[in-house]
Point group: C2
Chain length 344, copies 2
């Protein structure tokens, strides 16, 4: 037995072939004779042999690993990850496993040097970036990554500069659908709670969709009905309170995300404002928790499974050196009780 770990040489000796043949057989190379392959694989199984990933990675210059980086808002405490990205994590990981890729997970600050940290060190063949962040601050980095040809995809607004890299849903249409739904049940004073700035492109696009729906209904967007907030439940709670305190009248709210909608609901309840009787509400994301409230939250669903597959699919193509384009991830309205109207 010896004391060392089992290597491909041990398998080779036992199988009566060369070590190179063992390597080929285990990787199902078509070069190797089927019978030889079977024999080698059987012996490898019997000896509980596993290819050493470090050795394979060093020689082939491929880690067969992708890094999944979550951007953290430094303002949020460290306990909560945005549930939307967590759903993505599940789909991405399963998809990766099916493609024989490992997934490395890490939380990063926007300012960190993840650019080199992962790909240059051969820890990962490519990276997926997740998180609503201050895009302005990372766009330089993304351009550099792009120029250096490092494979990466990112969840966000599908801007032309990041064609193929950026994957997102049709945010303007989502915003328009949500707002049109509120108008369709007779609401006229629809507030928007969420970001509408360049720092958060996807939210800005949702806001633009909101404006478009209003304009199509011949309603002028009222700046007093725009309450900017970042994507946190607590911030949304405060923003809602501010809207209430302003005394501006409104009969509906389009929350730019479900997380924001949750903060809105808590604040309206606190102020004894009835949903949907006094105020109708639509969110965005369709988090599992959207059904926990009474009434349950009407929201815009993004297809997270397709999103995950696009993020991984494009990344793997880039790793293979293929060309990619940015798909638009489908969205759909999920009507529950928080709007009232036709659905009661």
């Amino acid at each position: 037995m010896g004391s060392g770990k089992t290597t491909s040489f041990d398998i080779a000796k036992r199988a009566g072939v060369s070590q190179a043949t063992v390597s080929r057989a285990l990787r199902n190379s078509p070069l190797v004779n089927p019978e030889t392959r079977e024999k080698v694989q059987r012996i490898a199984r019997e000896m509980n042999y596993r290819v050493d990933r470090s050795a394979a990675g060093l020689r082939s210059q491929r880690s067969n690993t992708i890094a999944l980086l979550f951007f953290e808002d430094p303002t949020s405490d460290d306990s909560q990850i945005n549930p939307f990205f967590l759903t993505l994590l599940g789909h991405i990981t399963r998809y990766a496993t099916r493609q024989s890729y490992d997934v490395l997970v890490s939380f990063q600050q926007l300012s960190d040097d993840w650019l080199n940290e992962y790909v240059v060190s051969n820890r990962a063949d490519g990276i997926i970036l997740l998180g609503y962040g201050d895009y302005g601050r990372i766009s330089d980095k993304l351009q550099r990554l792009r120029e250096e040809g490092l494979p990466f995809t990112i969840w966000g607004a599908t801007v032309p500069e990041l064609e193929g890299h950026a994957i997102g849903c049709d945010n303007p249409r989502g915003g328009e659908l949500a707002t049109r739904h509120l108008l369709g049940i007779g609401r006229r004073r629809v507030a928007y709670i969420g970001s509408a700035s360049d720092d958060a492109p996807e939210f800005k696009l949702r806001y633009q969709g909101y404006c478009r729906a209003l304009e199509k209904a011949a309603i002028e967007p009222d700046p007093q009905l725009l309450m900017q907030t970042d994507n946190l439940e607590l911030s949304a709670y405060d923003a809602t309170q501010k809207l209430l305190d302003s005394g501006v009248e409104f009969d509906a709210i389009f929350a730019a995300s479900d997380l924001i909608a949750f903060g809105v609901i808590k604040c309206l309840k606190k102020n004894n404002i009835a949903i949907p009787d006094q105020v109708s509400l639509v969110g965005f994301d369709d988090l599992p928790a959207a059904t926990y409230f009474s009434p349950a939250l009407t929201t815009v669903r993004q297809d997270t499974r397709l999103a995950a597959h696009a993020l991984m699919g494009n990344l793997l193509k880039m790793i293979e050196g293929e060309d990619v384009t940015s798909p638009r991830i489908p969205i759909s309205m999920v009507v529950r009780g928080s709007c009232g109207g036709r659905q009661g």
Copy 2:
């Protein structure tokens, strides 16, 4: 410049030292002269150099990576991961980063061969197992891992056979606290919804705590008030309906987890049973979503940060060959509106 990637030899040439010295300097070896170290590190920074992880891993036989394996219930669809473990994921990942470890995430079936897959292949130096599973089916595997000396920790009941490996909270005390709280506000017919079988040791322990609290109050546990269900919202919904249909009277429910409590709430609401007026409810875990319901859920909180640190801390000790013991993770009651009584 050349076309190849930057290696430690390139740094060595530029710094006028040997490649071995570069290696030492970058790893902050005390063997190297401070000035030499500074110089080497500066040049490495300038050249954007990163140590190749595969090469380092191959040579040192250390991956500096831990694998985080989630057991999936094959019955659940692939979208939802138990939020409790997701919280653990966050804490574990951050802790690992601070210790310069990478975290590999994967979803596994209980039956998979993760035993060899990760550690033997040198993909990870140790593994953390997460998931309420059918312990009976993996206890053999865990014993084998243990005998082979492969480093692993697991979230679960702290049984003597897995001393040091298993990390869990004081489940019996949690069950007892929850039940005592319900008795304290005057409830006498307390149902238990959740598993009470050997397949799910932590839930069984919570059930035992429930029984103990009842017995201390001179109440005989009523088998009719025990509704077994696995740890899914939908299953819990069905179990609650079954309890209702049975016609057995009850004035309180101890749900073995928050996820189960969520299913209970939905079912009680559907049946127009008022919480807490007609039925008081306590959960277990204190998921973020516990505050989304009206009334908010009273529950038993587990300190997930300490849990994560214990899982990682013990694992790292095992990797270093040190001895470990299983700590008990602290719990506490979080009283919200779902019980009524003193807190209203």
